[in-house]
Homo-oligomer: 291 residues x 2
C-alpha cells in the first residue's frame, strides 16, 4: 500500500425519487449532496439519469431535448456542489455527444470541482418500457477507473450490473469500489416476482464484490413513474459480499457507509482468487456463443 | 428447442461424509446412487474426491497412492452403478495421468455405463490445509460440456466456483446445469466467520446461474476431517438464482430436485443478458492484472 492511499472511505448513496421538472431534481440532488457531506461523505453517488424521470419507458423523439453536453449545465452545478461540500461526486448524465448521438453516461467530479472522467454505459438494455437502445449508443470508452477522494473508483451503470466481465475488468484496473447508479423496478403485473427480481439484483452485484475482493455500492431511485415501481433497496457491500448498509424499498434516503479499504487486501489474502485465474483459458469469453 | 431435448431433469446430489477406507466410501456412494435413482434421479452427482478423506490438508507424498487412472476401479464401479440405476453419474476422481502427474478430476458416466468425458479442475487452490497445488497439476482440457441424460451438463470443481469466467465459458458451450462437486469448510478458529463464508459460497454460485440463465447444483461433503469442518449446505438453484433445494450443514443427505429446463429459455427471454454482452470489449479478461 502506498502512503497516498486512504485507509477508509466514506461513501454516500442518494436514493431519491424524480419529479417531472429536471431543475427540481438537480436542486434536490444538490441539497442531498450537502447533507451527505455533512455526514462525512468523501464520495457521493447519485442514481442513473437523475436529472429526469426515467423517459426510456416510451420511444419518444422529443425526449432527446433532455440530453446535455459534458461539460454542461449539470456538470457545472455538480462541480460547484463538489467544491462547496469538499466531496467527490458521481452523477448520471443523459449525454449529448453531437447532433443525433447520445449516451447514458456518468461523470466523476473530484472535490476540487474538476471532471475526472466520464463513463459511458457499455451494456444497453432493450426490453418493454426500458427502450434504451433507441436512446443511447453503446459506450465506446470501455471500462475504466477514476481517481478521486484518493481512491480508485469504478463506475458501471445499471444493466452493466448483470455482467461479471464488466466488474472483473474494472477491478483488474485497480478499482476499490464498484459504483452502480441504477434505475430498476417492477411493473404492477410483476408484483409476485418482485422479491425474486430484487434478490437476483442484489445477489449478482454482491457476487462481483466476492469474485474481485472489492466494495460494491448500488444506488437506485424510488417511487412509481409511469409503468415502473422503482424498488430502491440501494446497498453497499464489502469485499466478501457482506451487506454493510441497505436502504428501504420505497423511501428517499441517504445511505452512508464508512469503508475500511484495508479489507480489500485482507480479503484477497484469505481468498486469493486473483492469483489462480486461468488467463490462458479465458480467450473464448470474447465469443457471443460457442457453437 | 429440438425434440431430443428433455423438458425436465431430475438431479440428485449426494452429500456425504468420508471414512478412512476408500472402499467403504465407494460402497456408500454406490448405495446412495441406488437410493437417488429410486427417487427418480436422471443425474447423480457425488462430491469432489469422494473416494477418500480430504488428504490435501498436509503435503504427504504417500497420499499419491490414493490416485487412480481413468478408466480405473472407480469408473468401473460407477459404470456398473449407472447401468443398474439407469442414471448418469458425475464423480470426483483423484486422477493418476502418468507417473508423477495427477489431476483433481471428475468423470461423467452416462446411464449406459459409458464414460462421456473427464473434467480436470482448472483453478487449483493453495491455502493452509488446502495444499492442492502440491498434489494436482492444473487442468489442461479446458471448460467443456458433457452430454448425458439427454442434457448438456457443465462440470466445475470447488475452487472453480469462485470464477465467473469458468461459469460463463461453460454456459456459452451450452450447459444447462453447472455442477460443482466441492470440499469446503471452516477451521475451528473461523467459527465466527463461518456464516459469512457460507453465504459468500452460496451467493457466488447462485450468481453464476443468474448471469448465465442456467441451473446450478453444488454438492459438498459433511463432517470434520482433521482441521476442516465441511459445511455441507449442498444446494440447487434456478436460472434466476432462486434456491430450489438446500441440504443441512451437517447431515448426510440426498438432495433431489426436478428441474424445469424450459425455465432457461423463459428466464433468458425476460432477462436477455447474453444478447447484450460487449464481446468487443472483453479481451483484457485474459490479463492477470491491468497495470
Amino acid at each position: 500500500m502506498t502512503s497516498k492511499e486512504k485507509d477508509t472511505l466514506t461513501v454516500a448513496l442518494i436514493q431519491m425519487s424524480m419529479a417531472d421538472d429536471p431543475r427540481s431534481n438537480l436542486d434536490k440532488a444538490i441539497r442531498r449532496i450537502g447533507e451527505a457531506a455533512s455526514r462525512g461523505a468523501d464520495v457521493v453517488c447519485l442514481p442513473e439519469l437523475f436529472r429526469s424521470r426515467y423517459f426510456c419507458q416510451e420511444e419518444d423523439h422529443s425526449k432527446f431535448s433532455l440530453a446535455e453536453t459534458i461539460p454542461g449545465d449539470t456538470t457545472a452545478a455538480l462541480s460547484t456542489a463538489a467544491k462547496k461540500s469538499n466531496a467527490a461526486i458521481i452523477g448520471g448524465i443523459f449525454e449529448k455527444r453531437t447532433k443525433g448521438l447520445y449516451h447514458n453516461s456518468a461523470v466523476v467530479i473530484d472535490s476540487g470541482g474538476s471532471i475526472v472522467g466520464t463513463y459511458r454505459k457499455m451494456h444497453i438494455p432493450d426490453d418493454p418500457h426500458y427502450y434504451e437502445k433507441f436512446y443511447f449508443a453503446p459506450g465506446d470508452l470501455g471500462f475504466k477507473v477514476y481517481e478521486a477522494a484518493q481512491s480508485k473508483l469504478g463506475i458501471l451503470i445499471c444493466w452493466d450490473q448483470w455482467y461479471p466481465e464488466a466488474a472483473r475488468l474494472t477491478s483488474l484496473l485497480g478499482a476499490q469500489v464498484l459504483f452502480y447508479p441504477s434505475a430498476i423496478g417492477w411493473f404492477d403485473d410483476e408484483k409476485d416476482e418482485a422479491v425474486k427480481m430484487q434478490s437476483a439484483w442484489e445477489t449478482i452485484q454482491r457476487s462481483h464484490g466476492i469474485a474481485n475482493g472489492v466494495f460494491v455500492a448500488a444506488v437506485n431511485r424510488v417511487g412509481k413513474e409511469d409503468h415502473i415501481n422503482f424498488w430502491g433497496s440501494s446497498f453497499i457491500s464489502g469485499p466478501f459480499g457482506e451487506v454493510l448498509a441497505k436502504a428501504s424499498p420505497d423511501k428517499e434516503e441517504i445511505l452512508v457507509a464508512n469503508l475500511d479499504l484495508g479489507m480489500i487486501e485482507q480479503t484477497r489474502h484469505g481468498w486469493p482468487f486473483l492469483r489462480d485465474r486461468r488467463i490462458d483459458a479465458y480467450g473464448s469469453i470474447a465469443s457471443r456463443f460457442i457453437d
